[in-house]
């Protein structure tokens, strides 16, 4: 058997339990004596609460308790914001789990009912009488920033939670000397993440011992424990958070939510297990949303197509309250990436974080980077049109040349490694770009509108050095941890602090151990998601689990190998310096038959009958790995669409991509991440958008009204890659979880704009529903 598992498309070790229906997600769990909680949510986007009368609900059958803000007084601290951007005037408004005297979005929790059954809990919600005094509401971040807008929080004048600025290079001069200045007004519409598993919490407080166990649909159980301890006052050593199977997150399961704390409070007060599981409409109303930017962007360039400056103002909707990591998304993860794959000498951005009477906004797959990539890449395409150049050529003229160990950009970041031209060249070749352009020209002659849309991107992920985290106001660390434990039989347990929920690290991490230590991946069990039996870690988001946690694991495996080598040398009565290692065997240099296998060493280390002097028993090691830099995956994508000018229908015909996430541990898993990511981004371009009416009612309040990509509207995604290792990661790997989403929205956007360009259409707001496309074509005809 070859033990070189790194790079093999082996089957996922998670799957057997998932395909038989036997895996347990939070809502699949039941405990003896369990009660059910239901949240009463505000039907108004903005209102004062005059009074709440819960007496009828308390009388209802099966109801055990009804709690309102008064019951949480002194029991629940405010929901915290954990990304306190420095130098941005950030103000954190009070965010109570149970609304006190004001509700600020449709979905704000006013009361909770706890009952013996879920039906009884929901029935009783209707019996609670809340007297509201409605107030004017505002839902668009641009409007909420106007002086006469309704104000959400007393201590947040102008609804402005922060104003973050970025300046690099001489932007004034760049624009003063530009041959070409282009302007775009872009609306990055609000999106609903739609993890297919809605959120749920099961809390079990044992009053006798003061211990609280929480099963939750979280992406980061250790953060949830940290935050829940701060909010509920249950000490961290008494608080155990378990993320069982988690059905996707995409950012929406990063935050710790009011409903989670309320469920914990209920269990604490009642001393019985309490489960709360949200409905899909509740998920739409109250689980965090993504994007919601209004962007004004200008690009300066020479007549040769060299980009000389970029200037932007962004109104970033935060929703009614600041969610856990929200302030960092439109700033650090967005503004700092505005140089993209290009050497742009001057960049300036102002980002206004604005409260609106809407669901709080958080990270959503890509988180800030799709919005940055979009700005740049749609302007690069405009520049190509303006100058009569092919979009691939304009990109070529501006790319940062290939580099393998650090390249600084004007925003202050230092990219680790990249070969952007290489990715684009491969894409053009694989897609048959020149042919496609010919087909497009022919089609146009026949009155058919094909469009080609390119997007090249680089993203920042693998968050990140903890020192940087501190400097940018992130209220936590960003390292990851791993423990590797060899049992006497040579089987291995790996315990990690990160918490994958679909990304396949139970498999890829077993592959890392396999390649580093020569055991079969089938002999490695990866344990995650339980704060009581895994080391602290900061969680799975920002494409960081393999990029940081994988590094922690590789370093740990190497510690194990070093120790095993010492033991093997001792057993073979050789000097450590004379030992060699290959494929799970330690042998005396030059005599491979004088060898000890890692399994033999593991047995000896565990029984410890004959250990070298000063070497501890056991074969176990751990690492807390703090990366020296972020990682910067990149790539080039192409979308091919046809637009029907009669109906406005957009048909996505082909999607080809080249992504570079460094060496791939499991290409099949990488491919799956790319597929999913691409389709999510396509969704934003073509179908998805959360819509509020003027009063702040969410019109897209159910799956029927919010169009998630479905199988029949998509082509096969053609996935290719290049391999540029990260110079600082022990395995050279970068992240791949978000890449697809970062590139695909603007690739499809550019394709549609390319298709309709001959019809004189300049701009269409996303999503490209047939009606919008048709109207834009009609308007252009009339103009």
């Amino acid at each position: 058997m070859t033990t070189r598992m790194f790079g093999s498309a082996i089957r996922r070790r998670e799957d057997p339990r998932l395909i038989t229906g036997s895996a347990l997600y939070t809502d699949d769990m039941t405990l003896p004596g369990m009660l059910h909680a239901a949240m009463l949510r505000s039907p108004y986007a903005h209102a004062r609460i005059r009074s709440i009368d819960a007496s009828a609900a308390l009388e209802a059958e099966g109801v055990v308790a009804v709690y309102t803000s008064a019951d949480a007084e002194g029991e629940l601290n405010p929901v915290p914001c954990a990304w306190l951007l420095p130098n941005s005037g950030l103000v954190v408004a009070d965010y109570p789990s149970l609304a006190k005297d004001t509700v600020r979005y449709v979905g704000d929790i006013v009361a909770v009912v706890v009952a013996e059954t879920r039906y009884q809990a929901y029935d009783a919600l209707d019996l609670i009488d809340v007297d509201y005094d409605p107030l004017p509401a505002v839902t668009s971040p641009e409007q909420a920033a106007q002086p006469d807008a309704p104000q959400l929080h007393e201590n947040v004048p102008g609804n402005q939670a922060f104003h973050w600025t970025l300046t690099g290079g001489d932007v004034e001069a760049a624009f003063a000397n530009a041959d070409v200045v282009l302007h775009e007004h872009i609306v990055q519409q609000r999106l609903i993440p739609n993890a297919m598993e809605t959120r749920a919490t099961l809390a079990h407080y044992i009053q006798a011992s003061g211990e609280l166990t929480v099963w939750n649909t979280t992406q980061n159980p250790h953060i949830l424990r940290f935050v829940s301890s701060a909010v509920t006052g249950v000490p961290e050593d008494r608080l155990r958070v378990i993320a069982p199977e988690v059905g996707g997150g995409f950012g929406s399961k990063i935050a710790a939510y009011p409903a989670d704390f309320i469920t914990m409070l209920c269990s604490k007060k009642l001393g019985r297990p309490v489960k709360w599981a949200e409905t899909r409409s509740e998920n739409y109303q109250a689980t965090t949303h993504g994007r919601d930017h209004v962007q004004e962007v200008e690009l300066a360039a020479t007549k040769d197509g060299k980009i000389t400056g970029l200037r932007a103002k962004v109104w970033s909707g935060m929703g009614a309250y600041l969610s856990l990591a929200a302030p960092g998304i439109p700033t650090i993860l967005h503004g700092l990436m505005l140089s993209g794959v290009y050497d742009i000498p001057a960049i300036q951005e102002d980002v206004y974080g604005i409260h609106t009477n809407t669901t709080p906004v958080e990270a959503y797959r890509g988180a800030g980077r799709p919005e940055a990539t979009f700005m740049l890449e749609c302007l690069v395409d405009r520049l190509a049109k303006e100058l009569g150049l092919d979009p691939a050529e304009v990109r070529r003229r501006n790319f940062i040349p290939a580099f393998d160990n650090g390249h600084p950009v004007v925003t202050g970041l230092t990219y680790d490694s990249g070969n952007y031209q290489g990715a684009l060249d491969k894409l053009l070749d694989k897609a048959g770009y020149q042919d496609l352009r010919r087909q497009q020209a022919e089609a146009r002659e026949n009155g058919r509108y094909l469009g080609l849309g390119l997007a090249t991107y680089v993203e920042i992920c693998g968050l990140g050095p903890s020192q940087v985290a501190g400097a940018i106001g992130f209220q936590g660390g960003l390292w990851e941890s791993a423990i590797v434990r060899f049992h006497p039989s040579g089987k291995v347990h790996v315990f990690i602090g990160a918490s994958p929920h679909g990304q396949g690290e139970e498999t890829t991490f077993a592959q890392i151990i396999s390649s580093e230590l020569g055991v079969s991946p089938d002999d490695v069990k990866v344990v995650h998601g339980d704060t009581d039996n895994t080391p602290m870690g900061w969680g799975t988001y920002g494409s960081r689990t393999t990029a940081v946690g994988g590094a922690a694991l590789a370093v740990t495996a190497r510690k194990i190998r070093d120790k095993a080598k010492i033991i093997a040398a001792h057993l073979l009565e050789a000097a450590v310096e004379d030992m060699d290692y290959e494929d799970g065997k330690f042998f005396v240099k030059g005599s491979p038959d004088q060898a000890k296998t890692i399994q033999e060493v593991a047995l000896m280390a565990n029984v410890a009958w004959n250990m070298p002097a000063g070497v501890e028993a056991g074969l176990e090691a751990s690492t807390f790995y703090d990366p020296p830099n972020f990682v910067y995956p990149f790539g080039a994508h192409l979308a091919v669409v046809e637009v029907d000018p009669e109906t406005g229908q957009v048909d996505l015909q082909r999607y080809v991509c080249v992504d570079d996430c460094g060496p791939q541990i499991n290409p099949m898993i990488v491919e799956g991440q790319v597929h999913g990511g691409v389709v999510q981004g396509v969704g934003q371009a073509l179908w998805e958008g959360a819509v509020y009416d003027e009063d702040g009612q969410l019109l897209t309040g159910a799956m029927l009204d919010y169009a998630i990509p479905r199988a029949d509207r998509l082509p096969n995604i053609e996935v290719h890659s290049t391999v540029t290792p990260s110079p600082h990661h022990p395995l050279g790997v970068k992240g791949i979880g978000e890449a697809g989403t970062i590139a695909s929205t603007v690739a499809v956007y550019n394709a549609v704009m390319d298709a309709v360009a001959p019809l004189g259409v300049q701009r269409i707001a996303m999503p490209f529903t047939p009606e919008r496309v048709w109207r834009a074509i009609q308007d252009a005809k009339e103009a």
Binding site: R11, R12, E14, D15, P16, L18, I19, T20, G21, S22, A23, L24, Y25, D27, D28, T30, E61, Y119, P193, N194, A195, M196, E197, T198, E245, V246, G247, G248, F250, T279, R280, H501, G502, Q503, G504, M668, I669, E671, G672, Q673, H675, G676, G677, V678, V679, Q680, A702, M703, L704, I708, P709, R710, A711, D712, R713, L714, N716, I717, G740
Partner: protein, 161 residues
């Protein structure tokens, strides 16, 4: 006052099962809460995601949209029963081989749905597969690998037939 419960008998995954349920309880709730079959999931509760689908008397139905009392006397297959006596159904086998899942929450629905398709049409074209599976939502996979897995399973089942 406690609403009156109804007695229901149905054949579920080949076994005769009896349960009591409230008239308003959905089949999905009864499967999950009364019968301990948590494979079917509630993704939306309104017939839009396919996470809850089961095969009932040969038809694919959203168990979130059917009242449990309506299931009296029917034969139902859930994900827990798709394999029948085999260890794994060829669809499950191909979902494994093709990595047609990530977080897995949608997978029971896709498996049941794809089984209903192959029961009817052992040799579906790719567009037919995509159209059929358009009733099921998956947010993780982008569908490509699911479509591949269904194609492969169909092929395998035709060979074995």
């Amino acid at each position: 006052m406690m609403p009156k419960k109804s007695y229901v008998q149905a054949v579920i995954n080949g076994e005769s099962r009896e349960f009591l349920c409230e008239p308003r309880q959905t089949l999905l709730e009864v499967l999950r809460e009364e019968l301990g079959l948590t494979g079917a999931k509630e993704g939306c509760g309104d017939g839009n995601c396919g996470a809850c689908v089961v095969i009932q008397d040969g038809r694919l139905v959203c168990s979130c949209l059917e009242l449990a009392v309506e299931s009296a006397g029917t034969e139902i297959t859930t994900v827990e029963g798709v394999a029948g006596r085999q260890e794994l159904h060829p669809l499950q086998q191909c979902f494994l081989e093709d990595a047609a899942l990530q977080c897995g929450i949608c997978t029971p629905g896709f498996l049941v749905s794809a089984k209903a398709l192959l029961d009817k049409n052992p040799d579906p074209s790719e567009p037919e597969i995509r159209l059929w599976l358009a009733n099921n939502l998956c947010r993780c996979t982008g569908y490509d690998k699911i479509v591949r897995a269904v194609e492969h399973a169909a092929e395998r089942m035709r060979q074995e037939a």
